[in-house]
């Protein structure tokens, strides 16, 4: 089966190479049937890669430890779900998952547009296949999951070697969020290939109107959503599994996912300016190229070992290939932009600083600055190593010092942007639009200070959250009121219709509301409390309003780990609120790694977060680490609201789903107030 998988990968590389060449030849000779053959080659390559993927899955489920990937990332006692997750538990398998997703995306995009944009599609196919060929070649020749284990016998000959059992999956990865986090994150990274391919095709064919933007709008939003969900799931995993009390540590691999998300968020906003005002054409192209390159850069960070991280695979053999590929993409794209600059001129200029397009532009600049700050902090150890021959690592304080103010500016713009009109807004209009939200925020700020809050950032953050929240409520209320007046609808029906008939606009506001909720959760960081104590049965410790009384300790084992579990009764104001059972686990396979499982009592106000940190040699005294983390609940709740808002934006219109993405004569369905 390993040989079959290997063959399928090799064959897929041949097919995708053929598709790349055939698409370009078909476009240059204007021969449709050659392009059609290239399309078929893409589908066939996707099928072949799917067979390779199934082969690896089979090897894992059948406990066939003859290949290095299965031997290093699975074991006989691993539960079924984690055997599936073991595909991406090691470097080579995760690369196969990446290739599999890329191939499926390519096939879907080409199928979706098989009868449209026939001038652009050959170039789209060529760009997609270039990416696929690169990753397939790495997967085959550098990081192959089907590499078979061999042992060198005493006479120097090599023989196939099959160990009795594997080393097992990294225990840190044995958590439900970790089963879905990498695939979702990969989908997020890979999805940006689609807008990038259309942008390059638009440059190549000089079709630099809005067609490529309209075509890829849903892809971009979906990909942005997947990347954001991947980031949040990663945060949830860090919070619940790593046991250090936080959800974001500014780790290089976390940062490498954040960077494309920041730039793609900027892109999602700036495309609106191009659609509405015919401006920022070069900027949009640059943002798409940057987003794609940052996705590749994130993969480079994770897989090259250039920076150290708890998440990295650290395989230095890949680094140079990634650098070459990124340089090729960057130079090629820049050459195309320079060559086609005449087609990228804006239709009109900025009318006024006080306008929505100006707010969007400012929002874009802040997103890019945030991205650059994260990039600088992430790469600083590498740069310092090159220049000063000493590796200097910058920690969370650097990132927080820059990104907290930047985040607050973005939060302010979330509220301010929609209050501006397109083209220009006078002070009179601004006064009308800002009066109630600003008054509400001011009253809230005074109330927070009067209530005893003293942290500058927390006060600013919560005040801005309330400001943005009031602008969103006002938007929905006034919009629904117009429907009530003009159509005589019931208010709640009007609210529903308003949202469903203008999904992009009001779905966007729901996403903004989710951002507010997430910022409320982040502001709680300023009030985190932590305490560590050693307890024996019957003793108790206090943290905040809570007291934790140790009720007992027990040991046990499951099929793949042994555990020690402390039982703690959590009281709040002398009332028992929860029985908490934090654990320490020692996994049977591999290096018998120890992990902690956090016990949580989560409420909208705060999380009581308890870790069983260790015990004395005689087994009598347990070390308990407890945290009270205010408002964390709102981060996860905000994530769910963000998902809802993005799904509303993505939901196709009954009448115009297809027409809305068509060009010119196919019509353009308005998605604005009806």
């Amino acid at each position: 089966m390993a040989n079959f998988g290997n063959f399928c990968l090799l064959f897929a590389l041949c097919l995708s190479g053929y598709a790349l060449v055939a698409a370009l030849v078909g476009a240059s000779q204007r021969r449709h049937r050659i392009v059609r053959s290239a399309e078929h080659a893409v589908y066939a390559a996707a099928g072949s890669i799917t067979l390779a993927f199934i082969s690896l899955l089979y090897l894992l489920l059948a406990n066939d430890f003859s290949t290095s990937h299965v031997a290093n990332s699975s074991s006989r006692d691993l539960p079924f779900l984690y055997k599936v997750a073991a595909i991406w538990g090691a470097h080579d398998g995760s690369m196969l998952l990446w290739v599999f997703f890329t191939a499926v995306f390519c096939a879907v995009v080409i199928y979706q547009n098989r009868s449209r944009y026939r001038d652009m599609m050959p170039y789209v196919i060529a760009v997609l296949m270039l990416d696929l060929c690169f990753f397939l070649a790495l997967n085959l020749f550098i990081s192959n999951p089907f590499t078979q284990l061999v042992q060198v016998s005493s006479d120097g000959t090599m023989q196939a070697f099959v160990p009795a059992d594997g080393r097992g999956l990294n225990p840190l990865l044995q958590y439900w969020a970790m089963v879905i986090h990498p695939p979702i994150l990969y989908l997020g990274f890979i999805g940006f290939l689609v807008p990038f391919a259309f942008a390059i095709a638009a440059l190549a064919t000089k079709q630099l109107g809005d067609t490529w933007i309209r075509t890829t709008r849903r892809w971009t939003l979906l990909t942005w959503l997947l990347l954001g969900t991947g980031l949040l799931l990663g945060g949830k995993w860090a919070y619940v599994v790593l046991g250090w009390g936080g959800y974001w540590g500014w780790d290089p691999v976390e940062n490498s996912s954040l960077m494309p998300w920041l730039v793609s968020t900027a892109f999602l906003h700036s495309v609106v300016v191009q659609e509405r005002r015919g401006m920022l054409k070069i900027w949009n192209i640059v943002l798409v190229i940057l987003t794609y390159l940052l996705g590749i850069f994130g993969t480079f960070i994770t897989r090259s070992g250039v920076v150290s991280s708890v998440h990295a695979f650290a395989d230095s053999k890949l680094g140079n290939f990634f650098i070459l590929y990124m340089a090729f993409v960057l130079l090629g794209s820049l050459w195309l932009i320079v060559d086609r600059r005449a087609y990228l001129e804006s239709d009109r200029r900025l009318d006024s600083i006080l306008s929505r397009e100006s707010a969007f532009l400012f929002n874009n600049l802040v997103f890019v600055i945030a991205c650059f700050a994260v990039f600088w902090g992430t790469m600083f150890p590498v740069l310092s190593q090159w220049i000063r021959k000493t590796q200097i690592t910058v920690g969370p304080p650097f990132f927080n010092n820059i990104n907290i103010p930047v985040g607050l500016i973005l939060l302010l713009l979330t509220g301010v942007g929609p209050l501006f009109a397109w083209r220009k807004t006078s002070f009179d209009s601004l006064k009308k639009a800002f009066f109630w939200p600003a008054l509400f925020a001011l009253v809230a700020c005074v109330a927070l200070v009067a209530g005893g809050m003293r942290s500058f950032y927390a006060i600013t953050c919560l005040t801005l959250c309330l400001f943005v929240f009031s602008t969103i409520v006002e938007e929905f209320y006034k919009g629904a009121a117009i429907r009530v007046r003009s159509r005589g609808e019931n208010f709640f029906v009007a609210l529903k219709n308003l949202t469903l008939k203008n999904k992009r606009r009001y779905g966007g506001y729901i996403v903004h509301f989710a951002v507010v909720l997430i910022f409320v959760g982040l502001s709680g960081n300023a009030f985190n409390r932590e305490s560590t104590q050693q307890l024996t049965t019957g003793q108790e410790m206090k943290i905040g309003d809570y007291s934790l009384k140790m009720a007992g300790f027990r040991q046990g084992q499951t099929s793949n780990y042994q555990f020690g579990q402390v039982t703690l009764d959590a009281y709040k104001n002398s009332q028992l609120v929860q029985v908490l059972r934090p654990e320490q686990r020692v996994f049977n396979s591999g290096e018998r790694q120890t992990t902690t499982t956090v016990a949580l009592y989560s409420t909208p106000k705060e999380d009581l977060y308890v870790v069983f940190a260790g015990m004395s040699d005689d087994g009598m005294i347990c070390q308990i680490k407890a945290f009270v983390n205010p408002l964390v609940f709102w981060i996860w709740f905000g994530s769910a609201v963000m998902l809802l808002g993005a799904v509303i934006c993505l939901w196709p219109d009954k009448t115009g789903g297809k027409a809305a993405v068509g060009s010119g004569r196919s019509g353009f369905v308005a998605s604005e107030p009806r």
Binding site: F11, Y117, R118, D119, P122, T211, W422, E475, E672
Partner: protein, 147 residues
Amino acid sequence: MLWIACTAVVMIAGFYTLHPLFRESEGNLDIDLLAETELDRLLDRKNVIYQNLRDLEFEYKMGRLSDADFGQLEAGYKNEAAAVLERLDQLDAAENLDEAIEKEIAVRKAKLSGPGPKSRRDAPLCPSCGAEKISGKKFCADCGHRF
């Protein structure tokens, strides 16, 4: 077994990939014909301006714009729309729009279909527009003419 599986994959995928090269109908990929025209861009622009106008009116009704701002912005959009409509009229005058579209369709059909398979060439045609008549259908799929 491995060889059989590999050969089957190569045969199936290879045939599927290469068979479009040997189809009877070639069909040209005429980039100039498929490219966005000025007319496309103007129609798109017209739709966007109308959308901006609807949006502006909505925001005015929400009480977010002063009367002066609304009047000024509305006039600006209307001027933009007038310029686009004027250009559309010019194109229309230079070449009747309907005729231009008909002509373009005819050229496309000629270029894209080429010499079709025998059965298609012999198929009955619609007396109104000349499109192929689909057997069993009471109306023409292209122009809606009742047979």
